[in-house]
């Protein structure tokens, strides 16, 4: 018995210049009471597919051929009103962005009542049903929650409220579009468990879209892999993940850093032929005398913020009592969830933030309290990479000027700027033709490479990389990590690598520091931490770390 059956679906977008074939002969089934996953990187056509099923395609999109059969009805032939009657009671959806999923000016109660507008029941009865649903998604004080507005809830709660709304009318099919991508790892697990429970309870089917292979492996019975508008492979999750048939699937699985169990200094990328990848053991950091002065010595560092409205301003400790040493050629991975103080610590280490206590010393000399000239000298030695690959490049400067900027800032006169720019670009794998492009003409991966080229321009001794692979597709993530690892070894750089992704950090870092509420709760060798975590928070983080398919979590 299938709930949804899609056959040979073709969708085209008509833009001013040309027609774009977004879905090509897409076909798959969603059996009753099952969870089917759809995997694909950005641009694979996932969003178009969802909108086609929901009847919410943009005006310039057209279904050319094919059929979407839902509970025996042909959706491609339904008019707008009939389609609207299906949405809510029969098909419903939860989307990625929990912050924007709910209407900001209407109370949760009103929004939940409005969804039941077709039922001829009284407002009190509708509210009772809403409370029931909020209880089911474990919102505390459900009755009080009805009178609250979305901004009064945290991101995870908002996403749970959105799930409650979506399942309110007991639909036959729930479409979940990356519903947990924006949530922290621990919240992600909780939300997925909840979704699974509710699905079993209500007895609906779920179409679950994600780029996260671990989540799909954990949750789905069947999976369809999408690549540039086509379903390249489908089958039971186990079969697809264990014996992938299509080249793309195989590469995708290999590229997921979670699938490289052993620490490897090179991750597989899309360029590698499937199956050809051989893990390379990571080289240990160079030997050093026991009394060597560390490159960076942080002692009891503390950063305070002042926030809040004018008359109730209070101090918040962003970072408190953090101490660590970092030696030349060594990489420290800094792990923690959003708001844990990772980025603040990084900014303080680069003196972009003042410290309110403790000390940070570079090559034995404190960095705070330096004069302008000394500080400028230090900026050559410490360079930073920021989270947003495109946003960290000045939008009206060409790539060539961006890469040459450190030379101009520090008035390095004795180099041939053009030649140096070409050299740096080739070092990060970009051709000289990129020098004439603007940041918005680059892809995320290319922009990231430009950022790397700029960061190593003046031969720094320490690179601080703040989430350098966040927002990049898995395949590109591998390339960027390989690049960083290569350069680090060749140039003997020390690095602080900040991330929330545990699977990434183990391939990059020699040591890992776990941060929680502004403090280091655990510091140790990377493999040690993974093998035997000591602190409770580290354990939670690791158990929440959905590992890749084919590997026990």
């Amino acid at each position: 018995m299938t709930v949804l059956s899609i056959t040979d679906l073709n969708v085209t977008f008509q833009t001013e210049a040309r027609a774009f074939h977004a879905l090509k002969n897409v076909a798959f089934d969603v059996p009753q009471k099952s969870i089917v996953g759809i995997v694909g990187e950005s641009g694979s056509g996932k969003s178009t597919l969802i909108n086609a099923i929901l009847g919410l395609l943009a005006d310039n999109a057209r279904i050319d051929s094919g059929s979407i059969l839902f509970e025996g009805q042909e959706l491609t032939r339904l008019d707008k009103a009939a389609m609207r009657d299906l949405r809510g009671p029969r098909i419903s959806a939860v989307f990625q962005d929990p912050m924007g999923a709910l209407n900001p000016v209407l109370s949760v109660g009103e929004q939940m009542r409005n969804i039941q507008y077709r039922d001829g029941r009284s407002a009190a009865e509708k509210d009772a049903r809403s409370v029931e649903m909020l209880d089911a998604v474990r919102i505390p004080d459900a009755r009080l929650a009805l009178g609250r507005f979305p901004h009064e809830f945290s991101g995870g709660m908002k996403q749970r409220i959105a799930i409650a709304m979506a399942l309110m009318m007991r639909p036959g099919l729930l479409i979940a579009d990356e519903p947990t991508t924006a949530l922290d790892a621990t919240l992600e697990v909780v939300t997925l468990d909840l979704l699974k429970d509710l699905q079993a309870q209500i007895g609906c089917s779920v179409l679950f879209i994600s780029h996260h292979l671990g989540v799909i492996a954990e949750l789905c019975d069947e999976v369809a892999v999408m690549f540039s508008g086509e379903v390249v492979e489908r089958g039971s999750t186990q079969a697809v993940f264990e014996t992938p048939q299509h080249d793309y699937t195989r590469r995708l699985l290999e590229c997921d850093p979670a699938n490289q169990r052993a620490r490897t200094r090179r991750l597989p990328t899309m360029q590698d032929a499937p199956g050809s990848f051989v893990p390379v053991p990571a080289t240990p950091p160079p030997e050093r005398p026991a009394d060597a002065i560390p490159l960076l010595r942080v002692r009891a560092a503390e950063v305070t913020y002042r926030t809040g409205p004018m008359f109730r301003r209070r101090s918040i400790l962003g970072v408190s009592g953090v101490s660590f040493d970092l030696h030349a050629g060594e990489t420290l991975g800094l792990v923690g969830e959003s708001g844990s103080g990772k980025s603040t610590l990084a900014r303080a280490t680069a003196r972009l933030e003042a410290i309110s206590g403790g000390s940070i010393a570079f090559q034995g000399a404190p960095i705070h309290g330096r004069g302008a000239a000394e500080m400028k000298r230090l900026r050559r030695d410490i360079s930073m990479m920021f989270q947003d690959p495109i946003g960290s490049l000045s939008p009206r400067m060409k790539v060539g000027d961006l890469v040459a900027e450190p030379f101009r800032i520090h008035r390095v006169a004795d180099v041939d700027l053009a030649a140096e720019t070409t050299r740096l670009l080739s070092l990060v794998g970009l051709g000289p033709e990129f020098a004439d492009r603007f940041p918005h003409q680059l892809s995320g991966g290319q922009a990231r490479r430009v950022g790397v080229a700029r960061a190593i321009a003046l031969d720094p001794k320490l690179i601080i990389a703040d989430e350098p692979t966040a927002g990049l597709d898995v395949s590109i993530q591998g390339e960027v990590l390989n690049l960083l690892n290569d350069l680090r070894e060749r140039l003997g750089l020390a690095m602080i690598f900040i991330t929330h992704n545990l699977n990434v950090v183990r391939h990059v870092a020699d040591r890992i520091a776990v941060m929680y509420q502004g403090r280091f709760v655990e510091v140790g060798a990377a493999d040690e931490i993974f093998r035997a975590p000591q602190h409770d928070y580290t354990k939670t983080l690791l158990s929440a770390n959905l590992a890749g398919p084919g590997r026990p979590a």
Binding site: S42, Q387, I390, G391, S392, R396, I409, L472
Partner: protein, 295 residues
């Protein structure tokens, strides 16, 4: 699915290629219409003395209140002056005021906005209070108060325009500067050791100036309205000098008997403000679509 791909606070829009933007402008009927109107107004102001043989200030009592005819295209006023000639020469006054005072407002606004946006917090708060106060005098009240002090003159008009425009411009520059100041590419420049002067000159100014110039060009109709309005009230240019506003005032007092004077004073104002507005709107859409809907 990209959680980090927040869009930068500045637009990557087509400003990098002015020729492409111009070609797109010429594809928009409204933009072409606006451009045509503005061109006509500009040319007729520049070549005013070639296009008409009448002196705009020449009084001839015998020709008072003549309706439009072949000899006097728009008729004559209560002193027998040719209205067509007065309208053309009035255009010189209007455009002079518009261009000079807009340029002055832009320079002052940018400097103040950068200081408020990039300077210390207390200075920012103080300047915002000052801008808000300046903006809370209704334009006409400001003009009236100022003219009582300075006396009616073209300079008084320009001072009013600058006082009216600068707070708004400075605020826009300030807001944008603050948004860009905390963006990653500026933090990146700081982390590389760039000086404040370099950050302002290389990273901030080029990104804030474009939208403001477009918005300022859209304010030209407002400036023309201020000049005409003040002259209409007798607070602008002194009498014999022609101005659209004073023609309108002459016509207004005689509106029942000789409506063509009021029509002659109002038409150029309508044509010019519409022309600049249509042109400005289209330019903005072509150059920087993100500004749409901002007033």
């Amino acid at each position: 699915m990209s959680e980090a791909a927040s869009s930068p606070p500045v637009s990557p829009a087509a400003t990098s290629d002015p020729w492409r933007a111009l070609r797109r402008l010429l594809r928009e009927p409204l933009g072409v219409f606006g451009l045509a109107l503005v061109t006509v107004v500009m040319l007729s102001a520049v070549f005013a003395s070639v296009l008409t043989q009448y002196d705009p200030t020449q009084i001839s009592p015998r020709d008072r209140f003549l309706p439009p005819s072949g000899a006097h295209l728009l008729g004559t006023d209560q002193l027998g002056r040719d209205l067509f000639s007065r309208v053309l020469h009035g255009g010189q006054v209007a455009l002079y005021v518009a261009l000079v005072s807009t340029a002055v407002s832009l320079v002052i606004g940018i400097v103040l906005g950068l200081i408020a946006g990039y300077g210390p917090r207390w200075l920012d708060n103080l300047m915002i209070l000052l801008f808000d106060t300046m903006k809370s005098f209704p334009t006409v009240m400001l003009a009236l108060a100022l003219v009582t002090i300075m006396g009616p003159s073209l300079t008084a008009v320009m001072v009013v325009v600058v006082l009216v425009n600068v707070p708004g411009y400075a605020r826009i520059i300030r807001t944008q500067t603050i948004a860009i100041k905390t963006s990653e590419f500026v933090t990146a420049a700081q982390s590389m050791g760039a000086s404040n002067a370099r950050i302002l000159a290389v990273h901030i100014v080029p990104n804030v100036i474009g939208p403001l110039v477009i918005l300022a060009s859209m304010d030209i109709p407002v400036v023309i309205a201020i000049e005409a309005g003040m002259s209409f009230l007798g607070l602008g240019v002194r009498p014999p000098t022609p101005s659209w506003g004073s023609i309108l005032n002459d016509g207004f007092t005689q509106i029942r008997d000789t409506p063509w004077i009021a029509i002659a004073g109002g038409l150029p104002i309508i044509i010019t403000t519409l022309g600049f507005t249509f042109l400005g709107e289209t330019l903005r859409d072509v150059f920087d679509p993100r500004l749409k809907g901002r007033s």
